[in-house]
């Protein structure tokens, strides 16, 4: 009755393949993959929430918090890659923990819209912060790796390998969590909160934990993006369209596996960049049509490509 769960093996092998590929792939691809994986971390957090029936239209709040935490730490001279990612994650966790007391009362569209309102308030604050460069944002110096300063290609590769490692760790942890009792409580809360309460479990507390985990992942993703891009500004980190993109990738990817968010994120990034390159004047049309087709053909997300065959058997 216990099926052999291969997800962790798949994850480890995939991450290993990607990490090794980083040594051979062209620079632009490594950079793009780094960003796609960083955003995949954010989407992984949204996956946890979405399994619970909650969608945050304001998850950029934590992505941005992670990014700005790194930016501010950089201004104070902190450059170590591990410390920076940890800092971005912790900043998001603290914020989510505080907001969680409020937002866990909300469901459905109200959860989505209140999240969005929070993220837009942060956006407003940043736009008003001329010290932080307002909408122009500011630059961040490249991170150091345990005291070692890398440059050029090795910097790109270093960032990428750290990201791969984090993706593996996050995927592993989230998978364990999703397989746990509390992870499975997602389905319970989504289907029937009353029953969950009558099982003696606090729905709000479970959601609070999930919200904090999702925020931590988004904070880590934001921290990586900020370090890798070397620049942060509110428009590309906190605006509602950024959150919208995360939601889009979440649905596009599907919730079948912790690997799905990364796959979805990479596919999205590839579609977008090639639409940018080949149809600079109508890339939105191409992107929109592609996504529309994917939604219509694969209602359960890209991941259903890998599970459908099994379901038929």
């Amino acid at each position: 009755m216990i099926e052999k769960d291969k997800t962790l093996r798949t994850l480890a092998i995939a991450v290993a393949i990607f990490a090794v590929a980083g040594f051979f792939l062209p620079q632009w691809a490594v950079f793009m993959l780094t960003l796609a994986l960083a955003k995949g971390l954010v989407v992984l957090g949204l996956l946890i929430l979405w399994r619970t029936g909650l969608l945050s239209f304001g998850h950029a709040l934590f992505y941005c918090t992670g990014g700005y935490a790194v930016g501010l730490a950089g201004l104070w001279g902190l450059t170590d890659v591990v410390a920076l990612i940890a800092l971005g994650t912790v900043a998001s966790i603290l914020l989510a923990f505080a907001l969680g007391f409020l937002i866990t009362r909300y469901r459905e569209i109200y959860f989505a819209m209140l999240s969005m309102a929070f993220s837009m308030i942060l956006y407003g604050v940043l736009v008003k912060s001329e010290v932080l460069g307002s909408t122009d944002g500011f630059n961040i110096s490249p991170p150091t790796f345990l005291g070692v300063k890398l440059e050029g290609e090795s910097l790109t590769l270093g960032n990428y390998l750290v990201t791969c490692l984090l993706v593996w760790a996050a995927g592993w942890g989230v998978h364990r969590y999703l397989q746990s009792t509390m992870g499975h409580m997602s389905i319970g809360i989504r289907d029937n909160e009353i029953r969950v309460e009558y099982l003696g479990v606090s729905v709000r507390r479970v959601i609070h934990v999930k919200y904090v985990i999702a925020a931590a992942l988004a904070g880590a993703g934001g921290a990586i993006s900020a370090m890798v891009v070397g620049h942060i500004d509110p428009d590309s980190m906190a605006y509602w369209t950024v959150s919208g993109e995360f939601v889009f990738v979440t649905i596009l990817a599907g919730t079948g596996s912790v690997v799905a968010p990364f796959l979805g994120s990479i596919v999205f990034e590839l579609v977008r960049t090639y639409a940018f390159q080949y149809t600079p004047y109508t890339w939105q049309l191409i992107l929109g049509s592609t996504l529309l087709l994917l939604i219509l053909i694969l209602p359960d997300g890209l991941w259903s490509l890998f599970t459908r065959r099994k379901a038929r058997v």
């Binding site: 990607f18 632009w28 460069g133 050029g152 620049h231 359960d300 379901a311």
Partner: protein
């Protein structure tokens, strides 16, 4: 949201390794193809330029498309060798033709950094010209240095780029935005000598905030007894200014400063004139030149207009400018605006610098470092006026500034500018080594005005 499409617990987490491995292998293959498709360095046959400008969104109409048009036309002139002197040195740049790869600037700095890398490493461009948004310029500059790619920031305004850092591979061939507001303040005080109060309406983002800060500071530096009555910061792309206009009316300021651009500026003008704001106060619109022809008689007479430099109607009447205007109007059936001018200016700078380096390199195609040395502290003739790369260790251009007053010539049915005043570069730009903000706040020490 009731999500019905979840996978049951028991079957979700088991996927086939083989399929996943196939994806990874596929991605790897795609990457490798591009990797080996890298062309080997050979005799220079073409100069591949990445051109980045807004092609979608609200900034496409006022900036992006005129920018791209200006680039297209000037590149055409360079490639066919039809530019007038001093650029009549044969076809192309040192005989090499320019080809472009155009990218949309929409989507924020993160996407732009990604696409910049793609341009350089996937598309193998030799250099990149573009960027209208200051945020994008700030983000791109360190990446360009890291990747050692010559990059010309052609249009963005923020002084911060070379005031906060210095770059080797990055140049900005247009002056930064501080002079727009300094010259506007000087002009306003000349035109309205008894001015006591002024107000502002600027978009609530970096550009608007910086513009107002510079203008306000310049006014205080030039005439300390004046006073700002209200500072309005509507959201960018809000389009609705009825409340702000009421607030401006109630403030009864002698003048209203605005750095609005594009659709926001036009909407503001419609709404302000429909309520007679232009009759009660002196409007100072620092970035409004691009819209005067299109708006025509809908632009109220007497408005103080800037073009962010000696461009458009402020451009000096030289053979270069005549060539530029004629070809532009012939080709696009519309007047060139400052976005068209500044991108043309960037390509002129490239032509002069590369050809100088080419000559110094005994007629061989110069290295990037040689081009950079040629461009640093270079002075060159552009379509609007003379440009000196005198700030930012030779990487930041300055020019003179120009301001005038709008008048719609009813008889000729034409938008015109009167009382044009030019301000020498040293009058409206800080000297090397001090930030614009500090310079203005410090009373603009050492400004040399004619």
């Amino acid at each position: 949201m009731n999500i019905k499409t979840m996978h049951p617990l028991s079957s979700a987490e088991t996927s086939k390794i083989s399929t996943l491995a196939r994806i990874a292998a596929g991605l790897l293959a795609v990457g490798l193809v591009f990797f080996f498709a890298l062309p080997a360095a050979a005799q220079k046959t073409e100069l591949k330029v990445g051109l980045v400008a807004f092609l979608s969104g609200p900034a496409a109409g006022p900036f992006g498309i005129p920018f791209r048009n200006g680039a297209e036309m000037v590149i055409g002139g360079i490639n066919s060798g039809t530019l007038p002197a001093p650029y009549d040195t044969g076809k192309g740049i040192a005989g090499v033709k320019i080809v472009t790869i155009v990218i949309d600037e929409a989507g924020g700095s993160t996407k732009q950094v990604t696409e910049f890398r793609n341009l350089v490493q996937r598309q193998n461009v030799d250099l990149v010209v573009g960027y209208i948004s200051s945020g994008d310029c700030l983000a791109i500059a360190p990446v360009a240095d890291e990747m050692k790619v010559l990059t010309i920031l052609a249009d963005c305004g923020t002084p911060r780029i070379f005031e906060e850092a210095s770059y080797k591979y990055v140049f900005r061939t247009r002056p930064h935005a501080a002079m727009d507001n300094i010259s506007a303040a000087r002009y306003l005080l000349d035109k309205v000598p008894g001015l006591r109060t002024y107000a502002g309406i600027n978009q609530n983002y970096a550009w608007g905030q910086d513009s107002w800060r510079d203008f306000d500071a310049a006014m205080q530096a030039l005439k300390p007894m004046t006073e700002a009555t209200t500072e309005q910061f509507p959201k960018i792309f809000a389009g609705q200014y009825s409340s702000e206009i009421s607030a401006l009316m109630l403030s009864q300021a002698d003048a209203v400063h605005s750095s609005l651009w594009g659709g926001d500026l036009e909407s503001f003008i419609f709404q302000a004139t429909a309520r007679g704001l232009d009759k009660r106060t002196q409007l100072v619109l620092t970035a409004s030149e691009p819209y005067m022809f299109r708006l025509g008689k809908r632009m109220p007479d007497g408005v103080i207009i800037g073009a962010r430099g000696p461009y458009g109607v402020f451009a000096h009447d030289t053979p270069l400018n005549r060539w530029f205007r004629k070809n532009y109007v012939d080709r696009y059936a519309t007047q060139p605006v400052y976005a068209s001018y500044v991108v043309g200016q960037a390509f002129l700078a490239l032509k002069q610098a590369i050809e100088a380096a080419h000559a110094a390199n005994n007629g061989n195609w110069p290295s990037v470092d040689q081009i950079i040395s040629a461009m640093e502290y270079m002075e060159f003739e552009a379509f609007g006026s003379t440009v000196s790369m005198s700030l930012g260790k030779g990487h930041q251009a300055v020019t003179e500034a120009a301001v005038g007053v709008f008048k719609f010539d009813v008889d000729a049915n034409e938008a015109t500018i009167q009382d044009i005043k030019y301000y020498a570069a040293e009058c409206v730009n800080p000297p090397e080594g001090i930030s614009s903000v500090d310079w203005i706040n410090g009373g603009m020490q050492g400004a040399k005005c004619n």
